[in-house]
Every structure is written in structure tokens, then in C-alpha cells.
Assembly symmetry: C2
Homo-oligomer: 468 residues x 2
């Protein structure tokens, strides 16, 4: 806490620096707009030249739809495969439709096979066909083979360009082999995978270790201690987990017979991790993850409204509970004033438990081994929270409304609802996970429905029993 100030200062300074270093500033966008208006292609070329593909993609996402079309009509040749790869899913289709066939063909031809797969797998049939036809026959076969693996599998994620060696090779032989085959090398690689003669991976050697070893050293003498292969059918979430947990940089992928068929690198795994984090965050907020910042009002409404409809149904359920106590409320209007407090506290406490549970399931810190300890802890927290907050709430309520009974009733209802909130907040995501559904999916709606219903029922029910 003593370092808070220093931390804040650093954060501000860093924010300023990063505005120069990484953020796309408004000037750039204004310049682009002027150049597009003036149809000055050479100037646009010069403006884009120093930018990374990821930044050009961001710029495409940040301008309006009209600006995008005008820009691409002038400057489609600048859109290479990497820019397409960096684009948001939502925008890829739109941008690909705007590109002339020849530009699109040139763009995809430069990409590694895994990037082409990533690019095409969510497009429409006609667009996929157009892209596949643009590829060299060998590349086309590679992409089609990758697409034969199930969606979201390691087979879709991997690149087929692999640097491997037989285990009895020496460092010198391997270096000579690399120098003789520069054309076939992947753009980035960090390890040489050693295989037996039947192409089964048996270990791997880091390039750093190879470079620091004598030419006569046998490759198998300098393999890394830990070595993991990934089945091509493994789900990409598990692949991403393994990369994160074991700090992998690249890992060989094997088919059902254990033979080397590709390699997955850290950048692929990071994209999956990022998507999964985004999905969990948005789902907990009641937003379907497919939405994109560049979607329009209608598209966004269409995506958001289903959750609101569900919430309308659950809110009606809560209203139905209140309706049962119409006579009680008529007799004591203070209940109507106070009842949202009990429900809202339950909703908040339930969301706390829920959020911690969803995160712990995602990071696999919450396992069968510690599930019950976690549920008990949360239930205990619910009770303690209830006890510590019920007293002040009961006191203030009793004083303001001049009724000891009302204070006792609201305090008791709060304790009940915070306990129920903690239990629902943990059991709902755990149950969804056991059903092999995403624990973040609809959890929030379930949990707040429970806390609303129980909150109103406990408060109004206790009131009608003891106050009337």
C-alpha cells in the first residue's frame, strides 16, 4: 500500500509512453482519412509502410464501415495475408469480400499452413473455395488435410512445416541439413524435434543448446529434460493450458499412431488463451463472445437481446414471488422499500463466488480433489458475510423504521440469502462444468435468479410470519 503512489505515477508515465509507443494515435487516423479523401495512394503507402500488420488490422477495425470501404478500394494491395490473419473474425468476411481476387490470392499464398487454416475455417463456403483455389497444389492439400481434423483441435492449430532430425544425427549434420534446406524452413522455429525412423518424436533440442555445442555432439545427448507431445485430436483449450502451465514455446503434434504430423508454437496457444479469457469474461457479463467492436447497432442488439429475454423471464419469476405477498406489502409498505436491499446483496455476493469459481475452473485450480473444500469455504464465507452485515443492517433498519421486528426480519433474511448466494455461486458453475458446458454460460442468470427469488421469499415470508 505504501507503494501505491509510486505505482500510480509509474502507471501514468507508462500510459503516456505507451501512447507514443503502441497506441494508434488519432493523428494517424486523421491523416489516413485525408489521404483517402484525396485519393493519394502513394501517401497511404508511405503512411502504412512502417506499421506492423497487427496495427494495420487494428486501424481497419477502428475506422467506420464507410471509411474502410473507401480505403480498401484505393489500397487493397497493401492488405497482405498477415493483416487478414490479425483481423477480428467479424471483419474478415467483410474485408475479404472487398478485396480483388488477385490480391486475395497473393495475400494467402505467403502464409504458413496453420495461418491459412485459421483464416478460412470460419468463412463461408464460397470464400473458402476462392482462397483454396489461390494456393499452390501442395499448400492446398496441406490446408485441406488440416481442415479434416475436428474444429478446435490441435490438428487445426498446428503448422505442418516441421524441423526434425533422426536422433543419432550430430549437431554438425543437423546444421548442414538446415543450411542445405533453407527454403523449406518455417518462418519461426525454436526447437529441432528428434524422431525415430518411424517418425515418432523421442525428444527435442533447443536451438540455443545446439548452437553452443560442438559439431561432433550427438543431438540425443543434448535433448531437454521435459518433453511433451500433443495428440492431434486434443482440444485446443487443453493445448493452451499445457503451453501456459509448462511454459512451452513449441510442441510436436502426433497422430493416432504417435507419428509426428506438425508443431504448435506459443503464438497459436496465446491466441487460444486470449479467446478463452475473453469468452469467459463476456459470458459472465451476459454477452455472447462472437460480438465484435465493429458490429453495428442492429447486429449488436440481435446478439445481446437473448440474455435480456432470459432475464425478463427470471425477473418475472421474482415478481411472482413478490405477488404472493401482496397483502403483506399492503399492510406494511416499508417492506417494498427494503426488499431490493436483500435481493441486491444476494446478487452481489453470489456473483463474487461465481466469478472466483469460474476463474478457478478455467485455470484448473479447482479440481475434484478440492471441490468440496472450496464449496465449504464459500458457504462459510456466505455465513460470515451474512453475520457481519446483518447486524448493522438490522440496527439501521430498526432505528429508521422504529421497529425492532423489521430489523430482525431483514437481518435474518440477509443471512439466509448470503448463504444461499455463496452455495448457488459455486454449485451452478461446477454443475455446468460436470455437464461439459462452459461454466460461465448463463451462470450469472441462474445465480441472480436464485438470489432474487430467495431474497424476496425469505424477507417477505419472515415478515408475514412475524410482523403481521
Amino acid at each position: 500500500m505504501a507503494d501505491r503512489d509510486e505505482d500510480t505515477i509509474l502507471r501514468e508515465r507508462a500510459a503516456d509512453e505507451s501512447r507514443d509507443a503502441y497506441a494508434l494515435d488519432d493523428t494517424l487516423r486523421a491523416q489516413l482519412k485525408a489521404m483517402v479523401a484525396a485519393r493519394d495512394v502513394a501517401a497511404i503507402d508511405a503512411l502504412m509502410e512502417p506499421l506492423h500488420a497487427a496495427d494495420i488490422a487494428d486501424l481497419l477495425e477502428q475506422v467506420s464501415e464507410g471509411e474502410r470501404a473507401a480505403w480498401l478500394a484505393l489500397w487493397s494491395k497493401g492488405i497482405d495475408g498477415e493483416v487478414l490473419s490479425e483481423l477480428d473474425w467479424g471483419l474478415r468476411e467483410e474485408v475479404i469480400d472487398l478485396l480483388p481476387d488477385q490480391v486475395l490470392a497473393d495475400a494467402v499464398r505467403e502464409l504458413d499452413s496453420d495461418d491459412v487454416v485459421d483464416l478460412v475455417e470460419d468463412l463461408e463456403e464460397a470464400q473458402i473455395e476462392a482462397i483454396l483455389e489461390a494456393l499452390e497444389p501442395a499448400d492446398r492439400v496441406a490446408v485441406e488435410q488440416a481442415l479434416a481434423w475436428p474444429e478446435e483441435s490441435a490438428g487445426r492449430l498446428m503448422q505442418r512445416e516441421v524441423v526434425h532430425a533422426l536422433e543419432h544425427w550430430t549437431v554438425g549434420q543437423m546444421i548442414d541439413h538446415l543450411r542445405a534446406n533453407t527454403q523449406g524452413l518455417p518462418e519461426q522455429f525454436y526447437h529441432v524435434i528428434l524422431t525415430d525412423p518411424r517418425l515418432k518424436p523421442v525428444g527435442y533440442v533447443t536451438l540455443g543448446r545446439m548452437l553452443a555445442s560442438a559439431r561432433t555432439t550427438e543431438m540425443r545427448a543434448i535433448t531437454e529434460d521435459s518433453f511433451r507431445t500433443i495428440p492431434a485430436t486434443q482440444h485446443e483449450d487443453d493445448v493452451a493450458y499445457a503451453f501456459n502451465q509448462y511454459h512451452l514455446i513449441s510442441a510436436p503434434v502426433v497422430d493416432g499412431d504417435g507419428r509426428l504430423v506438425g508443431v504448435i508454437t506459443i503464438d497459436d496457444a496465446m491466441i487460444v488463451l486470449d479467446e478463452r479469457n475473453e469468452e469467459d469474461l463476456l459470458l459472465l457479463g451476459g454477452v455472447n463472445d462472437e460480438s465484435s467492436l465493429s458490429d453495428g447497432v442492429i447486429e449488436t442488439t440481435r446478439r445481446r437481446v437473448p440474455w435480456l429475454v432470459v432475464n425478463l423471464g427470471t425477473a418475472a419469476l421474482a415478481a411472482l414471488v413478490i405477488a404472493q405477498f401482496e397483502a403483506t406489502i399492503s399492510a406494511l409498505v416499508a417492506l417494498a422499500i427494503l426488499m431490493p436491499i436483500v435481493a441486491s446483496m444476494g446478487g452481489n455476493a453470489g456473483t463474487q463466488s461465481l466469478t472466483v469459481a469460474v476463474r478457478a475452473i478455467a485455470t484448473r485450480d479447482l479440481t475434484r480433489a478440492n471441490t468440496w473444500r472450496f464449496v465449504l469455504r464459500e458457504a462459510g464465507v456466505g455465513v460470515f458475510n451474512g453475520l457481519s452485515l446483518a447486524l448493522p443492517l438490522a440496527l439501521v433498519t430498526g432505528l429508521v423504521f422504529g421497529s425492532v421486528g423489521l430489523g430482525v426480519v431483514i437481518g435474518a433474511a440477509l443471512i439466509i440469502n448470503l448463504f444461499v448466494a455463496a452455495v448457488a455461486g459455486t454449485l451452478v458453475p461446477l454443475a455446468l462444468d460436470r455437464l461439459n458446458l462452459d461454466p460461465a454460460l448463463a451462470s450469472g442468470v441462474f445465480v441472480t435468479t436464485v438470489t432474487d427469488v430467495i431474497g424476496f421469499f425469505a424477507f417477505l415470508g419472515l415478515a408475514s410470519l412475524f410482523l403481521l
Copy 2:
């Protein structure tokens, strides 16, 4: 959607596989428990031997506090530096206190300087002193120098072990240099950084490119196109952003004079990204991010209760709004039944906008350039959502309560509240960001306070104007 079934099957299959491949199964924990009870150190050794440090750390996190102490009392020698590095912050202090001095000293001596810094920076003074004293003098100086950089800066994140070369060197010279200096090399490295004679980085060469080039090739002839240096004072969030945005594997860090002082690798950046994602998710759920799954009931309650107290205050504010309409509710109890619907819908819609805004700010997709377009879109979505849901809600309400007026009032209140929800959901996090605060911090409380207050006020206010 046609692939849903296939996807579900794959997910299930992958879940089963991963239970074998990555998850720590209950058997392991049961075996460990039995071995600890039997004080069978050799068996524990054999059980732990094949496990990755990250898995041992997870196991330490998943057992109860008592089991942990009994286990470490028998088997502390197995806790090496890597296991300590992988432990949750919350547990590090506890585990370090349980370790004999000599074990701790041996454990930290194997680590790279950046890992020691990461290990010690959140410990208490006495523990830091104990660890620093265990280090060789040279390593101690390196760690102390790193600790001199501000918290959460690139200087804290980097390792000081750097592989660099003068730009005019040939590949052959560099390989000979590496072979002659194997002792000083970092455990993992992916690039050679080229510097001028004053140690200013001028480019970098991937090891793959080096290996595939002839010995006579000049290093400067095979540098990568894109090259970024990171100032040592840059905030770690910006560092992580750059790694993610530009798919970096490693990047040189420079001091104020532009001289090379260290290198940051992807694993460091991934840890920061992961922490930031976790922080955003938990903050949006109203949980402070320092909490850990291994915290007990009291500790967890202590961390959770502040947000609930804030929520109690804001709920009281909402109750105050309702209290203004006591007479109206007395005259028409149906209002008490229906009012939570308007508030809850607003809360949900506000959370949707908020979640999208927080995520977009974190990924820097929401910038000054497109802020107003985003706010307008969300406001438009709020209006459309309101219009599309108000009609069915008004109809059903009118029918159930036999009052056209009540239907019109609830419909109008819903439209107002969903519009306000969308605007508050976007403006609150944007405002926090401009104030250099975390946009996820307390956003949820602010937004639901606004939607509760406006929801109750609009519904009850319209009702008292038009229905009484």
C-alpha cells in the same frame, strides 16, 4: 451450428484425455496423503520425480494447510526454486516459512535473476533478506539492481543474462563465441541481439536463421525486419501488450541512455497477461484480485466484505428512492411487484455494455479514435433493446393486471432504464480509464447503482404522475 454435436463430442473426448494428460488426479493426492502419513520419504520422492514444477506447485495449493505442513516437514528438499516460482503469491510466504534455511538457499540459487526478483518482490523484508543472503555476491547484486527499478516495470520483469553480439560479427564468430561461453548462457534464449560498440541494440537475429546461414554470413545481413526495444521503466502491462500484439518471443530492454540492460521473454509476458486478465475478471465480479483459492474462510470474508459494504450503501440509496414513493405504492401494490423487473433489466443491460467496454479498453481496441462511435453504438443498442422488450413487457403487464396504463408506464420505464444502462455501462469504465484507474474497478457497483436508482425512479415516478 451444424458442427455443434461434433464440437461437443470433441470437447468431451478432449476433457477425458486431458484428465489423463494434464489434470492432477485424485489418486495422486490420495497416494501422497498415505505416504505422508506413513512418513515414507522414498515413496514421496518417487511419486514427485516425474512431475513438472508447476504440477507440484498446484498440488501444494490443492491440499489443505495441515497436509501441506506435514508433507513439507518430511520432504522439503524436493521444493526447488522452480516450484517456489510457480506457487500462488498467497502461498509463497507460508511455504518459504516452512522451509529450512539451507533448502531455501539451494532453491533460489538455481534460478535466473528475473525469477528471483519475481519470487522476492512480494515477500516481507526478513524473508527477502534471507533469500538475498543465500545468493552468490554477483547474483545478489543483479537482484538488487533489478529491485531498484520501479514495481511493475520492465526492469523488474527482465532477465539480465543476455546473448548479444557486435553487428559486424559473422555467424561463425558468433557460434564460436557461444561454444566458448556455455556457462554464462541463459537457460532459454531465442535471439541474438546485435549492438553497436556502446551497447545500443540495433537489431536481432533468430537462432533458426543463424543455424541456416553459412559461417561467413555477417550477422547484420540476417536480422529480422521488425525490431522493438523496451524501455526499462515501461509498465509491465504495456510490455505484455507489445508481446501479444506483435507476437514477440523475446525483446531487448534498454536503460535511459538506450543501452542494453536485459531481455524479456514470452513466458514473463504471459504471466503478466494472465494476471491482468484474472484481475479484470475478478474486479468485474466484485472480488479483489489478491484472493487465492487456498485462503481460509476468515481471510476470504475479510477480502470480500468491502464490496458488499459498498453495495449495502448503494442499495440503501435505491431504497431511499423507493421511499419517496411510499404513498404511490400504498395506493397501488402492483408497483411493488413489478419494480424489480425494471431495475434488474437495467442492471443486466448495463453489465453487458460494461463488460464489452472493459474488455475493449484492456485489449486497446477502444481508443480515443473510436470512443464516441462506441458510446453512440451502445446508446443505440440500449434504445433498440428497450423498444423490442418494452412492447411484450407492456402487453403482458397490461393483461395480467388488467391496466393499460400500468403496461404503458412499465414499458416507458424500461426504455428509459435500458438507455441509461447502456450509457452508464460505457461512460463509467471510460471515465475510470481517463483517470488512470483500472476500468474494471468498482464499475459494476457504479453501473448497477445508476440502473437501480433510475429504474425505480422512472417506474414509480411515471406511475405516480399518470396512474394516480
